[in-house]
């Protein structure tokens, strides 16, 4: 591949290859994310779904080296953004990428806003930090407008506590998009919100993706949110991707028993009492991953002597890939009966 400064036009916007994350626990290294590969194209929404402890948020932090703890670090792999490897950048180079080429929004908007500063100034900070002082006021109002908040000039002067949770999240999205990044990483952006507010934010993200040709990496535990928003899905379990596919085949024909179980436990207004389904057991915690396939203790079609000993690789099945020894076997089609 061309190693020049300009990115290949056909190359994906974000290309994560074999990413590994370790957390230092005394003298030993605990691997919490293992061999994660995914791509995001411009104008595409990619979902990363998993339960608490699956490593999905750690993956997001790793992309921009924004770990909440100094004990965590990228232990391997590449994070290519527009052809440049973020995992090899020093702190100064990364600062020029964060907020400029990649924006991030998180679950709890209040904890990322300064309670003592009007929200307009907080959006402007994103511009000023990247040297765009001139015209920042006009840009801030334009951004608030873009977030479908009425009366931008008044909103800009409000303090965070004067806004609702949904409005605060819109302010954070505005700040994340201030520098016109190519990629937006959203980690559980709607989890703390009411359903009606959540629907508004998801709609907004979809509109922004289309209008701004934005790549969107959406991290959530809720497959229904993914279904409404994304074109590609990666399912994470115990630090690994266990299945990846385009949205429709993943929902129509989930290959991995974990994906199938996760899908069945999603309730909708159509669900009845007999639909109350849950995967038995709990997510294994980092450092205590089971041998063989990490899902085998909870799996209904576990084959002794195979699944509990041999580590499954990501293999292709149909349109997608999955990490199941029995993928394609008759019993794996409807693993939960």
């Amino acid at each position: 591949m061309n190693s020049g400064a300009t990115a290949d036009a056909a190359a994906p916007l974000l290309d994560v290859r074999h990413l590994c994350v370790d957390i230092a626990q005394g003298p030993r290294q605990l691997r919490v994310v293992e061999d994660v590969s995914l791509q995001v194209q411009r104008g595409e929404a990619v979902g990363l779904v998993g339960e608490s402890g699956s490593g999905k948020s750690m993956t997001a932090f790793a992309l921009l080296n924004l770990f909440p703890s100094p004990l965590a670090r990228v232990a391997g792999g590449e994070v290519l953004l527009e052809g440049r490897d973020l995992a090899r950048m020093d702190a100064a180079q990364l600062r020029s990428v964060r907020g400029a080429r990649v924006g991030m929004v998180f679950q709890d908007p209040s904890s990322f806003l300064d309670p003592l500063m009007p929200v307009g100034r907080q959006i402007a900070e994103a511009l000023v930090a990247h040297g765009q002082v001139d015209g920042s006021r006009a840009r801030v109002l334009e951004l608030i407008d873009l977030m479908e908040l009425p009366q931008a000039a008044q909103v800009a002067l409000k303090y965070p506590h004067e806004l609702s949770g949904g409005m605060r999240q819109r302010i954070l999205i505005a700040a994340a998009l201030a520098m016109k990044p190519a990629l937006l990483i959203a980690d559980e952006p709607t989890t703390a919100l009411d359903v009606t507010v959540q629907a508004g934010i998801l709609k907004l993200l979809t509109r922004l993706r289309k209008e701004l040709d934005l790549g969107l990496l959406l991290i959530t535990h809720d497959l229904a949110v993914i279904a409404e928003t994304c074109q590609q899905v990666h399912v994470m379990y115990a630090g690994q991707i266990v299945e990846s596919n385009a949205i429709e085949p993943l929902f129509d024909r989930p290959a991995h028993p974990y994906t199938q179980g996760l899908l069945r436990s999603v309730l909708s207004p159509q669900s009845r009492a007999h639909d109350l389904f849950s995967i038995p057991g709990g997510v294994a915690i980092a450092g205590q991953w089971p041998s063989g396939c990490r899902f085998h203790p909870r799996c209904p079609i576990m084959r002794p002597g195979l699944c509990d000993t041999a580590v499954p690789e990501l293999g292709s099945s149909g349109q997608g890939v999955d990490r199941c020894h029995l993928s394609g076997a008759p019993e794996a089609i409807h693993a939960w009966g």
Binding site: R272, S278, I279
Partner: protein, 271 residues
């Protein structure tokens, strides 16, 4: 039939912060506005609404934690504001609560066993060794092996485990109705399903009634026989789960239904 627990025409007003002065009374805001609902023995009634709709305030009034500004809360037909002490003790034992964040309602310095033993000792008057045996039985019921969990502190538990402890503590009083305020909203989808399954099974085996407060219509039909939809302090629609979800009458109910995400990617194209 007398309802087990009933709110009759209750309203609750709160003073608006910072609105008063030396000479002017504080402005009042109506959180709950002349609401009537009734929970029958053994039934699950879902109370649906968004943040600020007044559903939590209504739940607190039914628990006797917040006094209504007007109207009555009746337990087995008796107004709890006028009930004699013995009836009130009855009420406090029979009406229990599970909060969204059981972590916040568990004493961080009490072990799981101590938290569950309190209502056993004080509501049911069990002797310490009896209470200890009963704690184990309750932990079994919520699928937390007592051996592993008896002596843990709340911070050593996951969100789902804490919620199970919260449920076990509510069950300790042998309630007839449990008011569950967003009991699964803070949980992952898969853990949410486990807790709902547990609550459903307990309801079936123990003939419990639930007032299930939620903003998520997704759980309603799987769980509740009847639904009351609350909006801006009022009940705007009430009926069987099937009727309300299949043929919503109020515009707000329709909006709520349309906003509820459905695991079907083909809805994307409909936009």
């Amino acid at each position: 039939m007398t309802a087990l627990l009933e709110a009759r025409d209750v309203s609750r007003l709160f003073p608006v912060r910072g609105s008063g002065s030396l000479l002017r009374a504080r402005r009042m805001q109506t959180a709950v506005d002349q609401v009537s609902i009734a929970v029958q023995p053994g039934e699950v009634l879902a109370l649906v609404g968004e943040s600020g709709s007044g559903k939590t305030t209504l739940g607190r009034m039914l628990l006797g934690l917040t006094a209504p500004s007007s109207g009555q809360v009746l337990y087995k037909g008796q107004d709890i504001a006028q009930a004699p002490a013995s009836a009130l003790r009855d009420f406090r034992q029979a009406v229990q609560v599970v909060f969204q964040d059981s972590g916040g309602s568990l004493n961080p310095r009490h072990t799981v066993a101590q938290s569950i033993a309190l209502p056993l000792r004080y509501n049911r008057g069990l002797a310490p060794e009896q209470a200890e045996r009963e704690v184990d039985a309750l932990l079994e019921q919520v699928h937390l092996p007592p051996r592993h969990f008896r002596n843990r502190l709340p911070h050593e538990l996951s969100g789902g485990q804490r919620q199970r402890v919260g449920i076990a503590r509510a069950l300790a009083s042998q309630p007839q109705v449990v008011i569950a305020d967003e009991p699964v909203s803070a949980l992952d989808v898969s853990v949410r399903a486990q807790i709902l399954r547990l609550m459903f099974d307990l309801q079936q085996t123990q003939r419990l009634a639930y007032l299930f407060i939620t903003h998520d219509l997704g759980v309603v039909r799987a769980f509740a026989q009847r639904v009351a939809v609350m909006y801006q302090g009022r009940i705007v629609e009430q009926g069987t789960a099937d009727a309300v979800l299949d043929d919503p009458q109020h515009a707000y109910t329709r909006r709520l239904l349309a906003a509820t995400p459905i695991p079907d990617p083909r809805r994307q194209q409909l936009g």
